[in-house]
Amino acid sequence: MQYVIIGAGPAGVTAAENLRKIDRDGIITLVGDEPEMPYSRMAIPYLLINQIDERGTFLRKDDEHYKRSGIAIVQGKVVSVDQTEKTVGLQGGTKINYDKLLIATGSTPLAPPIPGIDLPGVTSCWTLEDARHIARVAKPGSKVVLMGAGFIGCIILEALAKSGADLTVVEMEDRMVPRMMNDIAGTMIKDWCQHNGVNVHTSTKVNSISQDDGSLLVELSTGHKLIADMVVSATGVKPNTSALDTTDVKIEEGVLVDKAMRTSDENIFAAGDVAQAYDFSTGEMSVQAIQPTAVEHGALAAKNMAGQTQATHRGSVNMNVLDTLGLISSSFGLWMGVTGGDSAELLNKERFKYINLQFQDDILVGATSLGLTQHVGVLRGLIQSKIKLGVWKERLMKDPTRIMEAYLGATQAIGFNADVMK
């Protein structure tokens, strides 16, 4: 059996490793288009502040890992997939045969349609090469404009601020991380950044970027003009489906897959940020583009590619955790709430503490937190296990911080129910 995986990120590498566990004799080829060992984009902010070196970003630290696992790494850009011949074509003409193909090509940064977006000095922060470039320019005293304060913008914000650069953030929406945080939390993150010396413009667009005497002139929709040495663009990403351009594989927002991670072609699977797959909370097919989901997808796709067809997807919970200049925020599932549901909330603006829980009947379906670093994962557990909270729902309505007690109280032998549960 010949397995080809396009994309050397977390989904692709996890799939390759799981394939090897199941099929000892199969030929496994992992195709990546960057001249690097498989690495984690999640680690780039820590590379930018020199907390780790480039090796610290590698998904697997042992150089011999892939060789020993019998995973061939091929560097090349996929230009075509032939579904009839079952081949993958690389730039330069090389063809690789497959029996089962996995598309794990991740996302690509969106370039907003702004005059000047292609100027040198305007960069995304997506690849190791981008990071090397940013590290060269972002120095004490340099002027940096960050376009976009979504999840990716926010994780690189701290690194840019710590570089000593004079940083200004421009976000189109009315708050920070609008796709992951509600009004209260998104506004508090903005206040926190302002407190910490980062200029944040929300409800503001960049109208144009132009060259001005060796610097960049950034014109905002508010009429403000900013001078910058570098503009970092983090205005969103989209699934990188280009490998399938020559195929009839069904694509909507991302590559549509069923609960076996199989696309509309029975021999082609998709996993990770590129896949539009089953969402636990909504029951719909959606692109989540988060690390834990990418790994879940990769492992599941591998099982199905190797013929373990009983492995089906129960849906991934959308969730994020973010550290913005030391303020830690997280959101889970249906954090925006559901019609007819209840919510509990506790807010301390001065101390930047916030928790918001969303219920449907007595089941937790979503949550948002700020400044919570202890036991935060139990929010995922409560959501994904659909535990009926019973008496604990009323208790959480009064004190939403008691999430761990609610989980233990609802699942373990404690107090009055100890004998019953034995």
């Binding site: 907390q51 780790i52 690390q291 834990p292 994962g377 032998a413």
Partner: protein
């Protein structure tokens, strides 16, 4: 034979010696907020419940880590954080459905129970045997784990 922590809430008096012992053993300070084991207070029931990582076989934290900073200790079966490799991204803290991986802002890394390498300090400190270190095949332990993992979907 692998061993595991068995936690029995009905024997816990809430004395918090386990938290003190854990924080001292692992962080060198007597500071319950740095403990990897926590005693939860159920004042309505008049009970306490110690809780920490069950070293679950799904190892959600390990699989979610983007930089291979969580590994299995083959001798103890514990899932351990390698501090030098951890970048502090906190993805494991939201991935663990039991809420037992925590972020330590002082170190900028995450921390979780590592069974103290096979001699858990919390077990030694507990005066009422509410925390014991037993063969992982022990039936009571299986019961505790099955409660804990109640219906969390597996792939």
């Amino acid at each position: 034979m692998l061993k595991a922590l068995q936690l029995e809430p009905e024997k816990c008096t809430g004395c918090l010696q386990c938290e003190m012992a854990c924080s001292y053993e692992n962080e060198g300070v007597f500071n319950p907020s740095k403990s990897r084991i926590k005693v939860f207070n159920f004042h309505d029931e008049g009970r306490f419940a110690p809780y920490t990582c069950t070293q679950c076989s799904e190892a959600w934290c390990l699989h979610a880590c983007p930089v291979e900073a969580i590994v299995v200790n083959e001798a103890t079966g514990a899932k351990e954080v390698i501090e030098d490799v951890c970048v502090g991204c906190k993805v494991c803290t939201i991935a663990c459905p039991f809420g037992t991986v925590n972020y330590n802002a002082d170190s900028g890394k995450v921390m979780k129970c590592d069974l103290c390498g096979g001699d858990p300090a919390c077990v030694t400190a507990c005066p009422t045997q509410a925390i014991t270190y037993v063969d992982s095949e022990h039936t009571g332990l299986e019961r505790m784990r099955s409660h804990a993992a109640q219906s969390i979907p597996q792939n």
